[in-house]
Symmetry: C2
Subunit: 335 residues, 2 copies
C-alpha cells in the first residue's frame, strides 16, 4: 500500500448522499483536498432543484445510486442519525465503502453490528460515527485513559449551538423561534485543568443560554418556566432565557459555532500530575464535521484497498491513513 501512496494514485472519488448543511460541508471540504474528487451528489429531492456550491458538480436522484457504483470509491452519508442512517448505512454498506456520522451514543453497538454484517458480506469498508463527538473526542478519551490509567476524563461541550436543545426550545408553546447555546462553566474547566480530578455535577459543568422569539401574545414568564423546567433538557442545568426579536435572531444567531474540550488528568506517581487536553473551537460545526468525514473517507479507501473489510470506527484508523502525504513524507516532515 505504501508504494501506491508514494506513486500518487488517482483521486478518491466521493459520492455525497444527502445535501443539507453537512452535505454542503462535504462538498466544500473535497474542494480543499486535491487528492479527492466528487463523483456526484445523490438526493431524495428533485435533482434539478438542488444548487451545489460547484456549478459543474453532478446531482442525481438517490434511486440512481447503484448505477454509479463503478464511479464511486467511498460514499459520505450526510443524513440524520434518527431517521436516515439506521437503515441507510447497512443498506448501502452492502454495495459501497462508506463513512457516516451516526451519533446516537447508546445505539452505536447495534448500528455497528448491522453495518458490519452488510460490509462483511459485501466486502466493503464502512466507517461509522465519524465526526468530532463521537469521533475525535472519542479518540482522545481512549488514548487519554491508555496513557494515564490512574486518572479521570472530562468532556465539556461548547460554547456552541445545540441542535437538539434548540429544537426542544422551539417546541415550547408560545415560541416562534429560538436557539440554545451550551456553555462550559469556566470554574469547572479550571479545576479540571489543575489536575485535582474534581467530582462535578451536571449543573457544575455546563450552563445553558436560550435566545427566544415569542409568538404574538405569548406569556413570556410561562415560556421561560416551561423551558428552564423541561425534564432532561434543562431541569438539571442553570438556564437563562433571553427574549429577542425575529430580526435579532436572524442577524445574530444564524451561525453554527461549537466545540469543547476533552481533558484527561492523571498521576504517573504520587507527586506527578499530568494533564492532557484536546480542544476544538469551531466557527461552523457542520463544515468541521464534514472535514472530518472527508479525511476518514480517504482512510476508508486505503483500508479497503488493503483488504480490511467490515465495519470500522475512528478507533481503528492509524493517523497516517488520514493524510494525503506518503508515510515517508510524514516521517520526515511531522515526527
Amino acid at each position: 500500500m505504501d508504494q501506491n501512496r508514494d506513486a500518487h494514485p488517482p483521486a478518491t472519488r466521493i459520492g455525497i448522499v444527502g445535501y443539507g448543511n453537512l452535505g454542503r460541508g462535504v462538498e466544500a471540504a473535497i474542494a480543499k483536498n486535491p487528492d479527492m474528487a466528487i463523483a456526484g451528489i445523490f438526493t431524495r429531492r428533485d435533482p434539478a432543484q438542488l444548487q451545489p456550491l460547484g456549478a459543474s458538480v453532478p446531482v442525481h436522484g438517490m434511486d440512481s445510486l447503484l448505477r454509479h457504483k463503478g464511479a464511486i470509491d467511498v460514499l459520505v452519508l450526510c443524513g440524520g442519525s434518527k431517521d436516515d442512517l439506521p437503515w441507510q448505512s447497512p443498506e448501502l454498506a452492502a454495495h459501497f465503502n462508506l463513512v457516516d456520522s451516526f451519533d446516537t451514543h447508546a445505539r452505536i453497538p447495534g448500528h455497528f453490528a448491522a453495518v458490519d454484517a452488510a460490509a462483511q458480506a459485501g466486502q466493503t469498508t464502512a466507517l461509522i460515527s465519524a465526526g468530532w463527538d463521537p469521533g475525535l473526542f472519542s479518540i482522545n478519551r481512549v488514548v487519554g485513559e491508555a496513557l494515564l490509567p490512574d486518572g479521570a476524563t472530562y468532556t465539556f461541550w461548547g460554547k456552541g449551538l445545540s441542535q437538539g436543545h434548540s429544537d426542544a426550545v422551539r417546541r415550547v408553546p408560545g415560541v416562534a423561534g429560538g436557539v440554545q447555546y451550551t456553555i462550559p462553566v469556566p470554574e469547572a474547566v479550571d479545576k479540571v485543568r489543575s489536575g485535582v480530578r474534581p467530582e462535578l455535577s451536571t449543573r457544575e459543568k455546563h450552563r445553558r443560554e436560550c435566545f427566544v422569539v415569542l409568538q404574538d401574545g405569548a406569556d413570556a414568564d410561562a415560556v421561560r418556566r416551561a423551558i428552564v423546567g423541561m425534564p432532561h433538557y434543562f431541569d438539571q442545568y442553570d438556564t437563562t432565557v433571553q427574549f429577542i426579536s425575529a430580526e435579532e435572531l436572524a442577524r445574530d444567531h444564524g451561525a453554527m459555532p461549537h466545540g469543547g474540550f476533552v481533558i484527561r488528568s492523571g498521576n504517573t506517581s504520587a507527586s506527578s500530575k499530568q494533564v492532557i487536553e484536546y480542544r476544538l473551537q469551531l466557527d461552523s460545526n457542520p463544515e468541521f464535521t464534514a472535514s472530518v468525514l472527508v479525511a476518514y473517507a480517504r482512510a476508508v479507501h486505503r483500508m479497503h484497498a488493503a483488504g480490511q473489510f467490515g465495519c470500522k470506527t475512528v478507533l481503528d484508523v492509524a493517523p497516517a491513513l488520514l493524510s494525503a502525504k506518503s508515510a515517508a513524507e510524514l516521517r520526515e516532515q511531522f515526527l
Copy 2:
C-alpha cells in the same frame, strides 16, 4: 485478534533496557497497567548496585539480554538518542519487538531505515520515536493538517525544563550549576488560538529563563553575556538569567516539568475558522514519556501478533491498539 483481546490474554512482558529517569518511569508506568508485567531491567551498570522501585523486580546485566528472549514480549529502550539508540535499536530489533524514544528529528528517516531492515529480517515489530514530541505532538500535526488542509500548524513548548539547554548553560565557564526553562509567549499563543494564522519569529514564540549557580569568584556579567549570546541555543531568543544559590537550585528546580501545545487553525470556508488544540501540562516529563512508551509497547505486542513486522512509528498505530480494553468495550464506553 479481537477474540484474543476479549479473552484477556496473559500480561505483556516488558524488558526495560537502561535505568535512568526514563527507565524508572517505565517501571512506575507498568505498575499502573494490570495487563503489563516487568520481565526484567537490563543495565550496563553492575546489576547488584541498582535499586528498582519494586523490590522484587529482577535486574540483569545487558550482556544477558539475549538469554531472556523467550520471557520478553517487548523491550522498552530507555537510553539516549545521541549515544545509545542509533546502534541499540537496530541491533536489538533483530531479536526483539521494541519501542524507543529516538528524538533527533533530522535523523529519524535514517534511524527508521536501519531499524526497519533489522526488524524485517528478524520478523519483529519495532516502533521508534515514541513519546510526546516526537510522538503525540507528531500525531496532532499530521491529523491537524489532514482535517484542515487550508491552515497552519504551530507548536509551542513549555513551560518546561529543557535538558539540552540546561546542559548548554552548565558548560559555560564560571557556571557551577543551573537549569533552563522554555516558556511560550502568551501573546503569541493567544494570537494563534484566535485563528488568524500569524507569522511568528522564533523570538516571538518562546522566551528562555535560566537559573544559574556561579562558581566561586566567577564574573556574573560575563556568564550572563556568554549565555544570552550563545549561538543557536539562546541568541535568537529573549533570555533572562537569574543567579541563585546551590541550595535554591536543589530546593526549587529539581523537578522536570514540561509540556506544550500543538495548534492547527484553518478555514473550511471563507467565513469559517476552525481551531484544534492539543495541550500537555506535565509535572514530570520522563514519567509521562515513559507512560507513552508503555502504551505503545502494548500496541507493538498486538501488531507483532497480527504479523505486522518491520519499523513503525506512532503514525502507524490505530488508537484502539493502545488501550487494554477490547474493541467492543471501547465502542460501548468511549464513542
